[in-house]
């Protein structure tokens, strides 16, 4: 049965150019710039200094407060510097710069071969923490925290988010096709950790191959593959839960509050690798695509690889570039510079041509209500944008549920006035946060 959500949009999926491209392996870059801040929360603290020799998989930064995730060296070589370098999300942020020695030598003690079935949940959570696993669906939320819900929250269902509803991106799809066993294994591990009996894999119906493959692999495993209507933002976890279980996660609450956990397929593969082979999260599948990219690819790229290397691997550009986006075109972050690097949350890099960059001017809201019709969170996006424009950020939060917005961007996508609704909403959120901080720290 096809599951649907109300609202949402149908952007052209543009996945043709990469969905049959095997995951290639990127040649080893000469220098890697590994940011110490790759998850939601406090940045980690470097534990190496300039001049240190490091091995592949060696710990180079530690969680500052025990809630963040550690960072590991993606290759072997020498730390040349710890300095501020472009980060694809935060502008500039401290990076451990590693000059590769070309050997790509693993640190000892990794690459074990153990069966997840003999490990206890607590042990596995520890392994996941130590190997620096974060959610790879985009949010980069530390996975070990997600897997240790408070005692009073009973989780009974795991949902594997394989929707990949963003246009262009095919990294999750390729992961499912090429690492199907790892994904299933990861699912089983997480199910064991959470002690749940029921697992679902939600896949949009524009990926029939993945659906049939997953169906076959899941036979006899208490995991059910669910076909979802192709509709953005089907992959947002609240929508996933709504479509599969018909439960709505209340405002300000988490999936665990309705007894669910949602994990991205990439995260599950990383979990499987960490638990069975003790491999930390140092590389991931990245889709490099877009109309101006000569040869779009899916590539296994090391964390800390500059985007230039990836585009180089694709044979460079054809035509003038307008925007480079880290992530998908609906939620991704536009980059100021190609010097930004791959982080754990980089699912794709999309290049948009000069003439594709939509520079139509923003107009006043004409109250057409389209944004309201497509908002899956049932907000009033136009009102939020206007409140933000007029500086009433607090009202947006108290009266119009500002914080419920998941920034999916459907509202902008349909807005005939091309209002930067999402940007306005993010501005409100940022300003409210600044105000909260100012109040907390006592005004100056």
């Amino acid at each position: 049965m096809l599951r649907r959500i109300k609202g949402g949009v149908h952007p052209h999926d543009e996945k043709k150019s990469t969905d049959d491209k095997k995951i290639a392996v990127l040649p080893l870059p000469k220098k890697l710039f590994v940011p110490v801040h790759q998850h939601i929360g406090q940045p980690s603290v470097p534990v190496v200094k300039a001049g240190d020799e490091v091995k592949k998989g060696q710990l180079i930064a530690e969680s500052a407060d025990g809630r963040g995730t550690p960072v590991h060296s993606p290759t072997s070589g020498k730390v040349t510097e710890i300095g501020n370098y472009p980060h694809p999300l935060y502008g500039k942020s401290p990076c451990v710069v590693i000059e590769s020695d070309g050997l790509d030598q693993w640190q000892e003690g990794l690459l074990t071969d153990r069966s997840w079935e003999v490990l206890s949940a607590a042990e596995m959570i520890d392994i996941i923490f130590k190997n620096g696993i974060v959610g790879m669906g985009g949010a980069a939320f530390p996975t070990h925290i997600k897997l240790s819900p408070p005692k009073d929250k009973k989780i009974d269902t795991l949902i594997v988010n394989a929707a990949e509803c963003e246009p262009y991106l095919t990294s999750d799809y390729r992961t499912m096709i090429e690492y199907a066993d790892d994904v299933i294994k990861g699912t089983q591990i997480v199910m064991k950790i959470l002690g749940v009996q029921k697992g679902f894999i939600g896949i949009e119906n524009n990926k029939p191959k993945a659906i049939s493959l997953m169906k076959e692999k899941c036979k006899g495993k208490k995991i059910e593959v669910v076909e979802l209507e192709t509709k953005y933002p089907q992959g947002a976890e609240k929508m996933m839960i709504k479509a599969i279980l018909d439960k709505e996660v209340p405002s300000g609450k988490l999936p665990m509050d309705v007894g669910c956990a949602v994990q991205n397929v990439g995260s599950l593969k990383a979990v499987a690798d960490a638990v069975e082979k003790n491999i930390p999260l140092i590389e991931r599948v990245v889709t490099v695509t877009g109309r101006t990219v000569k040869n779009p690819v899916n590539v296994m790229a090391k964390v800390g690889t500059p985007f230039t290397e990836l585009f180089d691997f694709c044979g460079g550009f054809r035509g003038a570039n307008g925007k480079i986006i880290m992530g998908g075109p609906m939620m991704g972050m536009a980059q100021v510079s190609l010097d930004a690097v791959v982080v754990k949350a980089t699912s794709g890099i999309v290049s948009i041509a000069d003439n594709e960059v939509d520079l139509k001017e923003e107009l006043a809201c004409i109250r057409c209500g389209r944004c309201i019709d497509v908002c899956t969170m049932r907000l009033l996006p136009n009102v939020l944008s206007i409140l933000s424009e007029k500086g009433q950020h607090q009202t947006a939060q108290t009266d119009y549920n500002l914080m419920d917005c998941v920034e999916c961007g459907c509202c902008y996508y349909v807005c005939p006035s091309r209002r930067n609704i999402v940007h306005y909403i993010r501005q409100s959120k940022a300003k409210n946060a600044m105000l909260r901080n100012a109040i907390k720290t006592g005004s100056k």
Binding site: N84, P86, H87, P88, L89, Y90, G91, K92, M333, A334, Q335, V336, S337, A340, L359, S388, E389, G391, N420, H423, Y424, R426, Q427, A430, K431, M434, L435, A438, S443, K444
Partner: protein
């Protein structure tokens, strides 16, 4: 007949006066409610047009609000004009807060001509908005983005965006409320005493080389000022000169530091000079 009616009129009026006079005085005695006396004081000075123009449902309501709520400004009464605002402020003690001795100071010289932009920013014209997009389009990650969020937030019209893209403070209007300080995503604005002598017009903690790459006007942390200062009022912290204004004010009469500064980012504290201002060397 006519006379009679006229006399009735007088009698009726007297009756009216007696009855209502009694009612009012009676009510006044029995039903009067104790309130903050300042409310009455404010109410006294208000025009009593009961026009509701202040946004409150009447003069008394505004008086109550302005006395009890510290956020209500004393100048909402349009009919009363400034004189009333002045008196209301006196009674409520509000001006005192506003007339704090500090005023805002914008620590950046990266005007359009001097500081480079690395991208083409097409988003919402707001510094916070620009800043959340990978730090915005300005090369210098410490510099003023120039989208005027501070200007918009200033209730006193004290900030203006200069044509060169850096906000300028009007010291006569600035009340030191600190709203702009809170809202600037780059922490560029601070509150300082108005009488300080020199100001460091930069906020960058980047190394000198990096600063140079982004901006011709920034502090490169060369330390010339610190070395030249005979009183040790300047220290270099993270490639940025920090001035101890108290020492300056106490001891210094001849700020040589400004002459020594190679990028002229150290400038006299003449308020209102537009960034890009050149120090006149002859007379300091």
């Amino acid at each position: 007949m006519l006379l009679q009616t006229a006399i009735y009129a007088v009698l009726a009026m007297i009756g009216l006066g007696l009855i209502f006079g009694f009612f009012i005085s009676f009510a006044n005695r029995k039903w009067a409610v104790e309130v903050d006396p300042r409310i009455h004081e404010v109410d006294e000075v208000l025009p009593k047009g009961q026009c509701g123009g202040c946004g409150y449902p009447g003069c008394m309501a505004y008086a109550e609000a302005v006395v009890t709520n510290p956020d209500v400004p004393p100048n909402l009464c349009a009919p009363g004009k400034e004189a009333v605002a002045q008196k209301v402020a006196e009674i409520t003690g509000k001006k005192a807060v506003a007339l704090e001795t500090k005023i805002a100071f914008v620590r950046c010289s990266g005007t359009y001509g001097k500081a480079i932009r690395t991208g083409v920013y097409k988003g919402v014209k707001d510094c916070v908005s620009a800043n959340i997009l990978v730090g915005g389009d300005k090369g210098c990650t410490y510099g003023c983005l120039g989208y005027g969020t501070c200007v918009k937030v200033c209730m006193f019209d004290a900030l203006k965006m200069s044509p060169e893209g850096i906000p300028v403070v009007n010291p006569d209007k600035c009340t030191g409320c600190g709203k702009c300080v809170t809202v600037c995503p780059r922490n560029i604005i601070t509150l300082v005493k108005p009488e300080i002598m020199v100001k460091v017009n930069c906020n960058s903690r980047d190394k000198g080389a990096i600063v140079r790459k982004h901006c011709q006007a920034g502090c490169i942390g060369c330390g010339m000022c610190a070395k030249s200062c005979p009183y040790g009022a300047i220290v270099i912290d993270n490639f940025l000169a920090i001035v101890d204004h108290n020492i300056c004010l106490e001891k210094c009469s001849d700020p040589v530091c400004m002459i020594k500064c190679p990028t002229k980012v150290l400038r006299p504290a003449i308020w209102g000079t537009v960034p890009g201002f050149e120090v006149k060397e002859e007379k300091v």
